[in-house]
């Protein structure tokens, strides 16, 4: 090789290396003074929270807030990379299962001193505060929203079956005979010859419309599947409300509830495990199912399926009334923030009625502040969407907070295959004892 060629090859290497260095420098300087970087994983919420910026900047003209959104699949990996490189955002939206990992490894800061110093009142929140206390008893998160479950039904299918929306909105349930929920699901199910699930001659192997979408799920807290059923029996996930040492999968009421729900599939009233692969809204939209139980976050999208009118019903009313688990996301502050005062101002502004009401009107999330939630429900009502059930759930104490735990991801990964084995019929109810034991091991690590 000629010296000139070697020189050009070396020049290329130098240019490539300097380009890489330039990239990392740009990352490091992005958290400049007066700028607060805030991250969320939800693009719709990112758009909603932009509505808080004018109000915040009016009070704090020197502070610029930069809202960034990264898809949930990459969000936590990117966040971890940010912690390692020191380029994490000043504040960010976080989910309860990650509290243990981040607080335990001192990547997020306790906020008690700031709360005290600025007289910030956590009583403004109606839900979510306790989920963000770490094992040291300190407060690490300022609540943003809450999420639960709701039942979405195809109004035309309900009318066709001779039922009313009110009947669906007031379904009762118990694990013995299934209450009116069972009657309605059976009646909404229709086989390919037009015979309903509660009529003689119903062919469960050839169903055209299932009464309810699958309630089988590998999710360890069953938020949109079994949780809103078993909770009405007084069942709670952990042996204590926060930092439990075991999950109570091995109680008789849990097994009874899950056996009832799996039985719906065996009776042909609910799709079998893995049978339908499209999303819940597509199942309702295509008429494959008459109702689905989904997340509260589905409300604004599922009710906008073209040509299909979808109603919203609260979860079932069980022996102890309505009850379901609620997940509360919150704002955390990165310990490496270079601009704590400005960051705290933004975080507390996001945790105010003004911001929650401004951003909440889109109903892209359900505010943890009851007054803001009411404002969101009122705004949506004007657009023809009735979310009043969500206010009732919050005001009537129907929600119980998902317990913060250690090793959240390991729990999720360990429990999922066991639930899948149960719902696919590979394992029987004895699996629940094994599940409880596994949670004991993981939570005790």
């Amino acid at each position: 090789m000629k010296p000139q060629r070697i020189a050009s090859a070396l020049a290329f290497v130098v240019i490539a290396a300097s380009a890489l260095t330039a990239c990392s420098t740009a990352e490091e300087t992005s958290a400049g003074s007066g700028t607060v970087n805030w991250w969320t994983w939800d693009e719709r919420q990112a758009a909603s929270y932009h509505k808080c910026l004018p109000g915040f900047q009016k009070d704090n003209p020197g502070i610029t807030v930069k809202i960034s959104q990264y898809g949930v699949a990459d969000y936590f990996t990117k966040l971890t990379a940010g912690f390692v490189s020191g380029a994490a955002p000043d504040a960010f939206q976080n989910s309860v299962p990650l509290l243990g990992a981040y607080a335990g490894q001192k990547q997020i800061m306790p906020l008690d001193d700031l709360i005290k110093k600025t007289n910030y009142d956590l009583k403004v929140f109606n839900i979510g505060v306790d989920s963000w206390k770490y094992t040291d008893g300190k407060q690490y998160g300022i609540p943003l929203d809450w999420a639960g479950a709701a039942i979405y039904f195809n109004e035309a299918k309900v009318t066709e079956a001779g039922l009313t929306a009110d009947q669906v909105k007031n379904m009762t349930w118990n694990p013995d005979d299934g209450g009116t929920f069972d009657d309605i699901v059976a009646h909404l199910t229709v086989d390919k010859k037009g015979v309903r699930g509660d009529q003689a001659g119903f062919d469960k192997a050839n169903v055209a419309t299932y009464g309810i979408g699958s309630l089988a799920s590998g999710d360890f807290n069953g938020q949109t599947s079994w949780n809103s059923f078993v909770s009405t029996l007084g069942w709670r996930m952990g042996d204590k409300p926060a930092w439990p040492t075991r999950f109570q999968y091995d109680t008789p009421e849990f097994a009874k509830t899950l056996e009832y729900l799996r039985g719906l599939g065996d009776r042909g009233l609910m799709p079998g495990y893995g049978q339908l692969t499209v999303s819940g809204s597509q199942q309702v939209g295509s008429g494959t199912v008459a109702m689905i139980q989904g997340g509260t976050w589905d409300a604004t999208s599922i009710t906008k399926i073209p040509g299909v009118k979808v109603g919203i019903a609260p979860t079932v009313k069980g022996p102890q009334g309505r009850s379901m688990i609620s997940n509360s996301n919150a704002n955390n502050i990165y310990v490496g923030t270079k601009n704590l005062d400005a960051t705290w101002k933004w975080v507390t502004y996001m945790g105010s009625e003004a911001c929650q009401s401004a951003a909440g009107v889109d109903a892209t999330f359900l505010p943890s502040i009851a007054k803001s939630l009411q404002a969101a429900v009122d705004a949506q009502k004007a657009q023809g969407l009735d979310l009043s059930g969500f206010v009732n759930a919050l005001n009537n104490g129907e929600l119980w907070a998902a317990p913060p735990t250690a090793n959240g991801q390991e729990l999720a990964d360990t429990i999922k295959p066991l639930f899948e084995a149960y719902f696919s019929g590979e394992r029987d109810k004895n699996v629940f004892g094994e599940m409880a034991k596994k949670t004991e091991e993981i939570l005790g690590e």
Partner: protein, 323 residues
């Protein structure tokens, strides 16, 4: 490798093939004035690969080995735990189940892949001379694994997939290809075979071309059929090539990740939770890098042993042609 004595080579002093390879340096006179100072240039030229190898292979391997003896969750410095991770590994049901699933996948995938590839290569070699067909065979290999897996996942979808629509239109019952325990691994293996078959076929095809036509002529004179010649001539003469593709396929199959991640994510109920998937979720999902490193080294050790055994059993460095 098969080294045939071509007329051109016969003009050189006759030497056994293996000895000639062993004396590669003799081909260039390093002391001649034209080659003086070559060592420095040689170092400059191999420096990029050497640096790349050191930074991206040697260092991560050594670091991984160290991490396998630690408890490391990324955000705090690793804490030395000795052999704890390996002890935990020995009694971890999920690890052994993942190993079983992986071996099942490897067995299915490699057997099918070799069988299909050998037949395809033989057909290419003996029955067609069309370069277009030869080119088309390698096409699936050129497609990104993620794209291939995504398209196959759509086609094999239990509810809307075209494969099930075809089965049902023929009167059969739909199959839950990717959502049932029985079918998850066979389906992933089929996708993998479809993807790899072209590459393996082309390597075998190249091997076939090194077999002198005179061998087949002799076979034909002796009255052997195509099938007999394939079994008695082609397969034995191809042994070094087959050993190579077997080793490559086994290593590749042990490392399967992308297709699983796209199609089943290890489900249902861990039915397709292959080792790489488990390692990935431990490291990048649960941030348990210490334990994930220990699993990686277990996989490394397994591959080392398997490859060594394969090379020994198949006498991969010997060929019937050069014998």
């Amino acid at each position: 490798m098969a080294l045939l004595e071509t007329p051109a080579r016969e003009t050189r002093p006759p030497q056994p093939a293996t000895r000639r390879r062993g004396r590669g340096r003799g081909a260039v006179n390093v002391n001649s004035p034209a080659h003086r100072g070559d060592a420095r240039l040689a170092w400059v030229l191999i420096a990029p690969s050497l640096i790349g190898f050191a930074v991206f292979a040697v260092y991560p391997t050594l670091r991984g080995l160290y991490l396998s003896f630690t408890d490391f969750a990324v955000l705090t410095p690793p804490a030395w735990v000795g052999f704890d991770n390996y002890v935990k590994l020995a009694s971890d049901d999920v690890f052994w189940s993942a190993l079983g699933v992986t071996v099942y996948f490897v067995a299915l995938s490699v057997t099918m892949s070799l069988a299909v590839s050998i037949v395809t290569a033989a057909v290419l070699h003996r029955l067609t001379s069309s370069t277009v067909i030869r080119g088309l065979i390698i096409l699936p290999f050129l497609i990104s694994a993620v794209v291939a897996a995504t398209v196959w996942a759509w086609m094999l979808d239990a509810q809307l997939g075209i494969v099930n629509i075809a089965i049902e239109s023929l009167g059969g019952d739909g199959v839950r290809f990717l959502t049932s325990r029985e079918w998850a691994i066979p389906s992933i293996a089929l996708i993998n075979v479809w993807k790899q078959m072209g590459y393996t076929s082309i390597i075998i095809f190249a091997g076939l071309q090194t077999i002198p036509p005179t061998v087949y002529e002799a076979g034909r004179i002796d009255g052997a059929s195509e099938l007999q010649m394939f079994r008695r001539l082609t397969l034995p003469l191809l042994r070094p090539i087959l050993a190579l593709v077997l080793v490559l396929n086994v290593i590749g199959a042990f490392q399967v990740f992308d297709i699983v991640q796209v199609t089943t994510k290890g489900g249902p109920a861990n039915a397709s939770n292959v080792l790489q998937m488990l390692i990935y979720s431990k490291a990048f999902g649960q941030f348990d890098f210490g334990y994930a490193s220990a699993m990686s080294f277990a996989l490394f050790a397994i591959l080392l042993v398997i490859t060594f055994l394969q090379m020994r059993l198949l006498r991969a460095n010997e060929s019937e042609v050069s014998a």
